[in-house]
Structure formats: structure tokens, C-alpha cells
Symmetry: C2
Subunit: 192 residues, 2 copies
DNA sequence: TGCAGAATGTGATATACATCACGTAGCTAC
DNA sequence: GTAGCTACGTGATGTATATCACATTCTGCA
């Protein structure tokens, strides 16, 4: 299945577009390929685009003053990613994004998204629901952070995305869980 | 300023509606008054409405198996609140909401919101942006949880919402920060 | 093929925080 | 007014996790 078809099916779950409308919408997306390790958005950048993942795995992360990394999102196929704070507020990136594996994405500029949303009511509908789901996922993760200990969060993550275990290095999983790599290592060697 | 005018100005920041369109939209909102301590949504309830706060302060919270409470949101005037997971997915409430002070709200049913969004493109636009902002706030709080210690999060909260200090009991602030009330108490008596 | 750097395991120690326990002050109801 | 409840402070102790240090294994690549 090609990129266009993947996006089409993804949107069809939420919004009803004619083929012509979808073609028009799709004409604003720009395909892009990245190699493993390549940087998509770097802290301090001007952010113009958001990215729809076709294949591969990216990470969106924050580096604090002590050079410690926290991962906000592993972006897998059919997920959207960007530094949305910077994108919507026209500020410089505080979040960086790079590729854990080779990856193909579709880029959509902030300007084009707003233009399409304005022109096509169904597109606005789609983006409302996409953000809805992101909001709910974020709330859920926040609750999990407050309520569950590290082990429970680790198991929750792996039961949701079993592919991560082999796809991404353990220290990145630790950075997603918000614990040190040592603690994570001890965790899953203790309860074998 | 009455409830209608408060909502009107709130929406006008994001979407352009004619007076007729706003009147139509407003006709779907139902005003409601609550007393301090009154429950708006209780865990296990069917959730049909979301709430726009006109006055007072509500809290949205989760109680875990060990009867420990975590506060997801203090809902202040012009904020929206509900158990959105339950509301959108038509499941039972896992989040409860009650009133910290006497409060006035405007209720909007899930059904009516979707109806209005369908009928009025600008309403869909408004709700997309409202959710956007909620998503960004949630991401920011998540990052703060991973990156900052309790003291920093406490000071961040109070600098954002100074009125909370006198409005809500300290153990609720602790439940928002995700620490025990003892730890919070020690925190702000240590660094005077 | 072999080497450098990345990823991972593991021990020792320090620390932030939870938990338990108890005390006090203030508010509310009748 | 007093009984009871809620909010809040504070000490003692236990525990999960960070941090530092070093060893081991894996992997890409020249």
C-alpha cells in the first residue's frame, strides 16, 4: 500500500471525503524519506510542518538543562508528530524529533493545514478528532505517571506496543518511562 | 457579565460567528448551579455532558485502588471540563468531578456538540482549537512531571494560578502535584 | 577482521519521597 | 459549648530510584 492510500484509509476512519476532496487535500502533503538517526526537527528550529508517519519509527524528545532526555512520543506508522507547541504558536522548537529507524513521512505545513481546514469542513472535522485522540492519550499517560510505578508503566507500554521491545534500544524506553536506564535494566531482570 | 456573554467572548477569541449563529449555538447550552462539595460526575456514571465553567472552581480527579486521589484538572472560569474519555467513547466515567466552591456552569451534551459542529463549520473550528490548547497543556504538564521535581512543579503551579493558594486546601494541591500532603507541607515550610 | 563506540548489566551509595503515627488548630452542627 | 470532623504540621522509618563507577556485550564500519 502506498503513502497516499495509507493516509486515505487513515482519514476515512474519521471523516467522509469524496475522491476529489481527498486528492485535493493530498496535494498539500510532501513525501519525504529519512535515514536512521537523521534529524527532523532540532531544538531552536523554526517549525513549519507536521509529519504523518508512513513507515519506520521516530521519536519526539526534550532535553533538559542537565542533558537528560525525555521522550514524549514514539511516532509509528499512521501517527502524527511535530513540535505542536512551536507549530501552533509560531515559536522556536523546544522539542526535537529524529529517526530511530529509516522512515518515510508525509509533511504538511501549518499554513496548508489551516487553509484546508478552512476550505473543507470535513478536513476540520478530521483534525478535530485527531487532536481529540491525542489529548485523551496524553491525559491517560499523565494519569499513568501519577498512579503507576515504573514497572507497571513499563508493562503497560509493552503490552500496548510489543514491537517497541525489539525496535528501540532500552535506554530510549527508559527515557519514555522517565526513569534511568539502570533502573529499567534492573526491573526486567528482577522479575524473570 | 452574564453566562452568555462570557461564553460569547470566549468563543470569539478563536472563531467568527454571527450573532444569529452564536444564539443558535448558545440555545444548546443548559445553565446549572452547584453548591460547594456537590458532585457533577461520579465514577461509573454514564457521561452525557461537558461543562463550561462560568464561576467557581471544580476539580476533575481519579481515585485509584488504594483510595488515593489524583487531580487531573482544577476547572476555573472559562475552562471546559468533563470525563472526555467517557464522553467521546460512550463508556462509563473513570474520572469524577465535583465542586471545590459554589459554581455556575453551562452544560453541553455530546450529542449537541457533534450536531452543532456538523451544522456550523466555525463551531467545529472552535472546538478543534479548544482541544488543541488542552492537548498542548497536557503535554506540557507531562514534561513537567518527568523533568521537574516536586518543588519546581509546585512553584510552577502557583505562578500560573496564584489564586489557587487561597482557594483550594493544600492536600488538593498535593493531589494535583502527585505527592503526599506531608511532602508538600514540608516543602513550603523548609524554604521560607 | 578487528576496533571504537554504543548498549547493557550490576554493585555501592545517596536522596527524595511515601507512609505511619501523633499532635494541634479551626470550623460546623446541633 | 462541646463533640466531631477537616486541614495541617512534623518526627521516625522504609523504599524506590538516581547517580556514579566499572565491566561486559554488541554492532557498524574502515
Amino acid at each position: 500500500m502506498d503513502a497516499k492510500e495509507i493516509l486515505k484509509q487513515h482519514i476515512a476512519k474519521t471523516a467522509t471525503l469524496t475522491d476529489e476532496q481527498f486528492d485535493y487535500l493530498f496535494s498539500h502533503f510532501k513525501p519525504q524519506s529519512y535515514k536512521k538517526g537523521q534529524v527532523v526537527i532540532s531544538e531552536g528550529d523554526k517549525v513549519d510542518n507536521e509529519y504523518f508517519v508512513i513507515s519506520g519509527c521516530l521519536k519526539a524528545f526534550f532535553i533538559n538543562d542537565e542533558i537528560k532526555m525525555y521522550i514524549l512520543q514514539f511516532a509509528m506508522p499512521t501517527w502524527w508528530t511535530s513540535d505542536y507547541g512551536a507549530l501552533y504558536n509560531h515559536t522556536r522548537a523546544t522539542i526535537s524529533i529524529d529517526c530511530i529507524t529509516d522512515a518515510e513521512v508525509l509533511c504538511l505545513s501549518n499554513h496548508d493545514r489551516e487553509k484546508i481546514c478552512n476550505e473543507l469542513h470535513q478536513a476540520e472535522h478530521f483534525f478535530r478528532w485527531r487532536t481529540n485522540r491525542g489529548y485523551l492519550a496524553s491525559q491517560k499517560r499523565l494519569l499513568s505517571f501519577m498512579n503507576n510505578d515504573t514497572k507497571a508503566r513499563y508493562e503497560e507500554l509493552l503490552s500496548l506496543y510489543p514491537q517497541l521491545y525489539n525496535l528501540v534500544p532500552k535506554h530510549l524506553i527508559a527515557a519514555y518511562l522517565g526513569v534511568s536506564r539502570e533502573t529499567l535494566s534492573r526491573l526486567y531482570h528482577a522479575h524473570k
